[in-house]
């Protein structure tokens, strides 16, 4: 199994181009998405690819790993022009892609997924114990503390992503292409990933990397290539390239402040949502208030129960105890529809599994949550739906070159924007946004933050659940930190800072609010 990697360690041929794309163009049907893009990847380097949502990053990566074939242009591997074999068979050549969209079989276990298509077997007979042993090692090396026999469907999204990473690590790649691996990861997990990336780089692996988190790009990469609207814009050494400069080249204009100025909250504003003593299987005695016009951040580690609190409030997870008061009306919601009718909507962090119908177009997805608004007694008003789409496309800057594109074929960031547009169609008075900017480019991120601030200014109450601390800090009036299914602390004003959040999240501050 093990390829002799040691030779590469001793001779880091860092200047050698291992994989090169030359004048690649790609069209889907008649819709062009890449225009004569060239890109090279050297052994022992991390080459970041950045660009706005829909710029064509994922498409380029899929072409360079054989999953798509280019409409024109050539690919050189080891100096030879090649036609990469399809469907991941390029892995046999040492080219491994971690897809932006998770590529795991949900009902199968971690081990089964990690070895899928690459089982350790003799004459077709599985060597289960060898695979088990290997998986334990691999999981350990990426710091993932789960049983190898866990089914994927039982994992959190971050854990799934780590399984993807573990899977890629297990392949002994010469070229490792990673499409937004950190989008769903926490800081801690990102650190682990970067340690591994660094190790591989030292071994002479060529690494291609996409992230919308520019500080990560700055930290981990050696070179950066910028794409805009399917065009190559520039390739630069990372050293000396400022974040602002990256952002400017990506979006083609100067970006003002990422975070909008936050208006003071009105302490006397009505309480929009009040939760008392909420408990579920994993949540214990959670109580808090949300005022009209307030942006309330929810921070904490993955698995600390933030999602479950709000899924319980919206009738998606059974509640054991507790009461909920919305605008003075008390009463639990048994279904999402009841919550929606009371003005509360929840935007899931799992956009593929729970957010969008991948086989449908933008139109159907956009209006699904608020569909009764588009109907008079069951009857749909298609005109109204079309108008809504046109409005949403403008308002959220959803970029699809083909308006009839299926959700599954949209770029990740644009899917996220569509999802945001979808929940906003319900005209909520309380919006719970779980990981609002997952996979969103900086330019759009800025737009979303401003959008959230504007909504709050209009009196809408907003909960932002986020694993990105700067985001929570940058946008919230108040931050609640959760730990082990309980509220560990509430931060306001100047107390909203990373140190405080981390202290509560890690259990170093044992103050319990609302206890």
């Amino acid at each position: 199994m093990d390829r002799g990697g040691s030779m590469l360690v001793e001779n880091p041929i860092a200047s050698d181009v291992l994989l090169r794309a030359e004048s690649l163009s790609k069209s889907f049907g008649t819709v062009p998405v890449l225009f004569s893009v060239s890109f090279d990847l050297k052994a022992g380097e991390v080459h970041a690819l950045i660009g706005e949502n829909g710029a064509g990053k994922s498409t380029l990566m899929k072409i360079m790993s054989g999953f798509h074939s280019p409409t024109s242009g050539r690919i050189f591997y080891n100096g030879e022009a090649v036609t990469l074999p399809p469907n991941g068979q390029a892995e046999a050549l040492g080219i491994v892609l971690i897809h932006q969209e998770l590529n795991l079989a949900e009902q199968m276990t971690v081990t089964e997924n990690i070895f899928l298509g690459r089982e350790i077997a003799k004459n077709g007979i599985l060597d289960k114990s060898a695979m088990h042993k290997r998986v334990v090692q691999i999981l350990d090396s990426v710091g993932l503390d789960i049983s190898p026999d866990t089914r994927i469907s039982q994992l959190s999204i971050a854990e799934k992503q780590m399984v993807e990473i573990a899977k890629a690590m297990s392949r002994n790649a010469r070229v490792l292409i990673m499409d937004e691996p950190t989008a769903v990861l926490t800081e801690a997990e990102t650190r682990i990933l970067f340690t591994q990336v660094d190790r591989l780089r030292k071994q002479g692996v060529a690494i291609m990397f996409v992230s919308h988190k520019l500080h990560e790009v700055s930290e981990i990469s050696d070179r950066v290539t910028i794409l805009r609207d399917g065009q190559w814009i520039a390739t630069r050494p990372t050293k000396g390239l400022a974040l602002d400069e990256m952002a400017r080249m990506m979006v083609g204009r100067e970006l003002s402040d990422l975070y909008p100025p936050i208006a003071e909250t009105d302490i006397d504003a009505d309480v929009a949502l009040r939760v008392d003593g909420l408990s579920t299987q994993n949540i214990h005695n959670v109580s808090f208030e949300l005022r009209s016009g307030e942006i309330l951040g929810f921070s904490g580690l993955v698995g600390s129960g933030r999602t479950e609190v709000f899924e319980a409030i919206c009738g998606l997870v059974p509640m054991r105890n507790g009461s909920i008061t919305t605008f003075g009306q008390s009463g639990r919601f048994a279904t999402v529809a009841q919550a929606r009718n009371a003005g509360i909507v929840y935007l899931t962090k799992d956009r593929k599994g729970k957010g969008l119908l991948l086989q449908e177009g933008m139109q159907t997805n956009l209006t699904l949550l608020a569909l009764p608004q588009f109907a008079k007694r069951l009857m749909l008003n298609k005109k109204q739906e079309e108008a809504a789409l046109a409005r949403a496309v403008r308002r959220f800057d959803i970029r699809a070159r083909d308006p009839n594109v299926l959700a599954k074929d949209m770029s990740g960031g644009n899917q996220q924007k569509l999802l945001l547009a979808k929940v906003m169609e319900a005209n909520p008075k309380i919006v719970i946004i779980d990981e609002p900017t997952r996979g969103i480019d900086v330019g759009t991120k800025q737009q979303i933050y401003h959008f959230i601030a504007a909504l709050a200014a209009e009196g809408v109450s907003i909960v932002v659940i986020s694993s990105e601390m700067p985001e929570v800090i940058g946008i919230s009036h108040r931050v609640i930190v959760m730990r082990d299914g309980q509220i560990a602390g509430t931060l306001t004003g100047d107390a909203i800072n990373e140190t405080q959040i981390v202290r509560y999240a890690a259990g170093l501050n044992e103050e319990k609010m609302h206890a």
Binding site: F28, G29, T30, V31, D229, G252, R253, L316, T335, V336, A337, A339, R340, Y346, T348, G353, K354, G355, L356, L357, L358, Q359, E360, T364, L368, L369, L371, P372, F374, A375, L378, M379, L380, K382, V393, R394, D397, I398, R399, A400, R401, D402, P403, N404, L406, K422, A426
Partner: protein, 336 residues
């Protein structure tokens, strides 16, 4: 700032079109075949027969389109039809003594059939959703139950509509309005309502969403269990309607009534382009699918070129080819 690029609608359209017109093309080819075997194929009489016959399976298949689109399956429809027909006949026969042989008896019989159909569908739906039992098992079970109930009611034999009432009821199958037989009118109305429900209402949209991804549906405030249950109720209503126009045709019900209708109905749905695993339903296609199936049977009655023993072979081949015609060109992606 670059705006959304509103470009050509291209690329998926042609595929969708092939999918749209595939069943129509297959039907047209069959008609040409039929006509070339015997010009009487296109005679008014035969066309009328064909349409009238398609009505049963067609109406049932419209219901099945909803069930399948929402990710379910109903194997019980044939037996359900038999059971409903049986109860309806018993009821009408006994009503004659009380209410006579007038329209009222027929109306009450038909109304009861509709109610029974809704209840039978409700049972299937609740067992599937609340009972959390696979639709395949639930409806395989009720298939056996309904069929054996009609055998039981008929004491192993046949339940016959009393001859006194037949005269009143017969026209429902045999009469025409504006030259079109009543069953065909019913079929047309069910088709239009079905199309409308599927494509122009929240209900249809919800069926598609549930069949496509139940989680997404749930997170989109859709009451998944309620909608799924309703698809079975609609299926039951369609079965009942089909039965109401079936009974005056043959005036009886027995354990052999409606045998294998479930397979025919599902076949009509799939031939019409609906995806068996759910998430994509086409009522128009289903109608064509039902017409295709009936036409195959009709054509086989047109010729004795092949041994009767080989009817099944012909039928099988034609079904496979008809579907292959519309699917083969779909381009690389294998769906389902």
């Amino acid at each position: 700032m670059p705006d959304t690029a509103q470009t050509q609608p291209a690329s998926n359209k042609p595929k969708i079109d092939l999918k749209m017109y595939g069943p129509a093309i297959a039907l047209a080819l069959l008609c040409i075949l039929g006509f070339s075997l015997n010009t009487a194929f296109l005679s008014e009489g035969n066309i009328t027969n064909l349409l009238t016959r398609s009505a049963f399976i067609g109406i049932i298949a419209v219901g099945a389109t909803f069930v399948i689109t929402a990710g379910g399956i109903d194997l019980s429809v044939g037996s359900m039809a038999a059971a409903i027909a049986g109860v309806m006949i018993i009821l009408m026969n006994s009503l004659i003594d009380v209410l006579g042989t007038g329209t009222l008896t027929v109306v009450i019989g038909a109304t009861s059939a509709i109610i029974l159909g809704a209840l039978a569908g409700l049972a299937n739906g609740l067992l599937t959703t609340k009972g959390k039992i696979e639709a395949f098992i639930v409806t395989l079970g009720t298939m056996g139950i309904f069929r054996s109930l009609v055998t039981y009611f008929a004491d192993g034999g046949t339940l016959s509509l009393s001859f006194e009432i037949r005269g009143t009821y017969r026209p429902v199958y045999y009469e025409s309005i504006l030259g079109v037989p009543i069953p065909v009118w019913v079929f047309i109305m069910v088709a239009i309502s079905g199309w409308f429900l599927m494509n122009r209402t929240t209900f249809g949209r919800y069926c598609t969403a549930i069949g496509s991804n139940e989680h997404v549906a749930q997170y989109s405030a859709i009451n998944v269990n309620k909608i799924k249950t309703w698809t079975y109720v609609i299926q039951g209503l369609c079965v009942a309607l089909a039965t109401v126009i079936y009974v005056p045709r043959l005036g009886s019900a027995s354990s052999s009534t409606g045998v294998l209708w479930e397979l025919e109905a599902i076949a009509a749905v799939i031939i019409g382009g609906t995806v068996l695993k759910g998430g994509y339903g086409r009522i128009g296609g289903t109608i064509l699918g039902a017409l295709i199936l009936t036409t195959i049977g009709n054509i086989l009655n047109f010729t004795d070129l092949v041994s009767n023993y080989l009817n099944g072979t012909m039928q099988g081949l034609i079904i496979i080819v008809a579907v292959w015609l519309q699917r083969a060109d779909w381009g690389g992606k294998s769906k389902t």
